[in-house]
Amino acid sequence: MKRLLIFLGMLSVLVGHGEETQWRSDAFAIWPVKTDFPLQTSVVSWSDWLVFMNAHSREPGVRAIINEMTGSGIRQLWWRTFGGGHCLYSSQVDGVTTGNYAGQGADFSKFNSLKEAVNFGHKLGLTVYAWYTPMEEAHGWADNVRSRYTDMHPEMSDIDQAGKVLNVPSLFYETYRKYKLDLAIEMLECGPDGIVIDFERLGAPPRRNNWGYIPALLEEYEKVHGKGGKPQPNDPDFMRFRANFVGMLMRDIAAEAKKRGKRFMIMFPHTALLTAHTDIETWNKEGFVDDFYMTCGWPFDSVTQELLERYRQKLGRRILPIQYGFFGTVPELIAQGQKLASWGVEDITWFETTYLHGRDKYAIPTTLACTPQCEMVSPTELDFSGGGELSVYSSAEWVLRYGDAVLGQGKPGQVVKLKVPAQAAKGRLSIAAKLPPNALAAGVGLQGVAISQSGERTNVATDGTWTSGEGAVKTTGLMGIPPFLAPLDEKGDL
């Protein structure tokens, strides 16, 4: 044992001249994700991170959010594109209002956060969807993050049953639908894997069944259905008729998505399949929706399960539940996730990352998704006959081997730089690692160089091509970004 420690001590001497001072862009944190557990998704409202967290801003802000999220085993994200009536990326669509918090130095018109999220998410192997809330022109209350489109187009205002002009445009109008479609197209052009349309968020004031009493709409309804006057708000025919104007937009967005090979999803509240704004059964029959997500209450219980089953039977397809609210301890929430898995749910969506981050609840998806310990092996044999240099950082305890020889070991949160002595034979690197209890992230990152006897240098780095018997090895982050921020410069640790 003593000899081993001396050997390890010799190996752990910091390399000198020529050492790398930055993590390379091909060095990823990796970890096996359980293959028998559902996919985990989280939505990201960047504006919330900006305001309530660490003033996350521009590329460093976006990358820190996504890296942190990925580190916990979440593999799919919905990136928020609108906060109420304010666009959260640098939209070029005429009529759009872009978010701008002057005192916070956050001008959303100057940065395409969606594109950055897509590019960075894809680099980590994530599926990234644009999360679009087309029914909102304000959020929470009428004057909060209100769009200017609303003010500039009173001629398209919706009208309620009592004849009140609501100062919110109606999708009855083709011009307004075209504006909303242009935004969706612009989002799709940013390269996401698809788009999720949110019908949980209906604006402020929220669009209700007693909306849509626009004289021209009523006239059209009378022409089609022969019913004059003012139909009742909950008249199914009248609801379906009004929802069809929203449906026109949905079909157009879905067609644009399909054209680009992207997925089209709809998220709806569990309260009803048919409203004046949504006609889930019809849209389902038409077949243009790739997946339906249903917002449920909290916690998931027998009522949720019954609802899911009822809608599953009614629509003849899977319905993915979304929890709304984030209450309970880490063990309770882990138990909820396990319960969903036991129901056969294939995609657990967390609302949202700010809650996971703010309460250190990343332990929930990490525990659910990631194996507690693992051994990961490099994809090819490496030639260290002339020695080499390696840097390792992990959120777990780890031991690095080359064949049977131990090259080094480390504790969570420490950078270890190794000088690898010349090895007689080619071999694979392997990392055995074990997460501490309630780990907030799972990952081991390694980079360095293998030097052959002839002096040929081969870059070595952990990435998704490594394998493990415990699960599917995934990139759980890019090194050099929190939670895998570990500077390699000459001064070592933080």
């Binding site: 930055q22 660490n54 003033a55 460093p60 005429d94 909060n144 200017r148 921020l485 410069d489 001064k491």
Partner: protein, 457 residues
């Protein structure tokens, strides 16, 4: 009175406002006024700042948001002196330094202190709010820094006050207990009017609960700090001396708040006969009535939007609507509004954005206006690297500093940017002089100078 205005500017620029027909940027223009409150005796008013340490401890923050969050939280606790370190604890430089190898960067993360000009952002903040910013470092680092920012205030690390907050963040809620008084305050603003106004509106909000009086007449009250109120105060103002009084009581658990945040914030637009507008904001010109009736100076505790603590809701804006590009153009001073006979071709081209003015050494651009115009912002576009600027007014041939953004500053700030916006409390000018001076050894190309005006009724 002959009023002319001179903006002396040394620059760096670039940019170009894209002009689409109808896109809107929320909260533009930014609104006016700072939060004010009273400090306790013996308060700690200084904070040291190590941005390298901050972004490691608070990952994700970057750009102007980082500055505003750090400063906003510190100011909320009564801090008004910032000692900003040029290097982190390991000697990495925290600005776009000539010694590029020493600049702090985390490549994969996108953190690169060579790509964002933090000294500029700090100085813009200082201009906007009146806080003091001193850059600290070793003598060698200061010497190098001065090449790029010759007019910036600097000091050796030893000069940082003992016991100052920082260097990564100020726990404002904790610090404000020590630094800010926690009892009701009477805050007054005295001013003179030559004539009774034809219009006057006052927007106000306060941490806790406020009562507003204009010349001893009660006007209104409210307890929700997140939303401001706008009052028509014209009938209560008169020719001669006027006093606006706010009685502010810090209370907890009022509507819309989880807890009260001490502070008062207002801005006021006054139109006098003849159409002239006058503007008055909450700032250091306000006074707090002390126990013995003596008037004491307040301290600045924040500015709108500097973190969750001062994020106001929509209704509390300037009396200017959100601008689309068309409206934005309407508020940009056009060539036709200048004194054509005195306007040079060069100045005309700059106003129209058709210039490509190479500046090598100091260069002054004179913009004479056909009649006095009330300006609220100067925007300079171009491609360049360094700018020193100050705003002065010429009165009777004598230069003097005018109101915000540079009022009360001993020396002009220096900045480096690719786009320069200089917002200030609106002031009427007859002639604008823009003096451009790139950093030593640099040539700069200026493409456009935009003067933004207040649209008067």
């Amino acid at each position: 009175m002959k009023t002319s205005l001179s903006v002396i500017t040394a620059l760096v620029l670039f940019a170009g406002i894209s002009s689409h027909a109808a896109r809107y940027r929320a909260h533009d223009p930014a609104w006016r006024g700072v939060w004010i409150w009273q400090r306790t005796e013996g308060a700690m008013t200084a904070a040291t700042v190590d941005m390298g340490l901050y972004i490691v401890k608070h990952p994700g923050a970057w750009g102007e948001s980082l500055i505003n969050r750090m400063a906003g939280n510190a100011m909320a606790a009564g801090v008004d002196q910032f000692y900003v370190r040029l290097a982190d604890q390991k000697g990495h430089l925290l600005y776009p330094a000539a010694d590029d190898a020493r600049v702090l960067r985390f490549n994969n993360w996108g953190v690169d202190f060579a790509t964002y000009d933090y000294p500029l952002a700090w100085m813009k903040l200082a201009n906007r709010t009146g806080v003091s910013v001193t850059f600290t470092g070793s003598q060698k680092d200061i010497d190098d820094f001065k090449v790029r920012y010759p007019l910036a205030k600097t000091a050796l690390l030893d000069a940082e006050p003992a016991g100052a907050f920082g260097p990564d963040a100020v726990n404002s809620e904790e610090a404000e207990k020590k630094n800010l008084v926690n009892h009701a305050l009477t805050i007054v603003r005295d001013f003179e009017l030559k004539a009774a106004p034809t219009k006057a509106s006052l927007c106000v909000t306060a941490g806790g609960y406020y009562e507003l009086y204009v010349n001893d007449n009660q006007v209104g009250m409210d307890a929700d700090w997140m939303r401001g109120e706008t009052y028509d105060v014209a009938p209560l103002l008169k020719a001669g001396s006027n006093r606006i009084t706010f009685i502010v009581t810090p209370e907890k658990g009022m509507a819309g708040t989880e807890k009260a945040h001490p502070g008062l914030l207002f801005n006021m637009n006054i139109q006098v006969p003849g159409g002239r507008m006058e503007f008055m904001d909450s700032d250091l010109a306000c006074r707090i009535v002390g126990k013995d009736g003596q008037l004491v100076k307040p301290c600045i505790t924040g500015f709108e939007g500097a973190g969750p603590r001062f994020r106001l809701k929509e209704p509390f804006r300037n009396n200017r609507s959100v601008l689309d590009e068309g409206k934005f153009k309407e508020l940009t001073v056009a060539v036709a509004e200048c004194d054509g006979a005195a306007l040079t071709e060069e100045a005309k081209a700059l106003l129209e954005g058709k210039a490509s003015l190479t500046v090598d050494g100091k260069k002054t651009v004179v913009i004479p206006l056909a009649k006095p115009i009330c300006l609220y912002e100067v925007r300079i576009q171009g491609a360049a690297a360094g700018v020193a600027c100050r705003l002065v007014e010429l009165r009777d041939g004598q230069e003097s500093l005018v109101a915000a953004p540079f009022a009360g500053r001993e020396e002009p700030p220096v900045a480096v940017t690719n786009e320069l916006n200089l917002p200030f409390t609106p002031v009427k000018v007859k002639e604008l002089r823009v003096e451009l001076a790139p950093m030593p050894g640099r040539k700069e190309t200026v493409k456009q100078i935009q003067l933004m005006k207040v649209k008067e009724d």
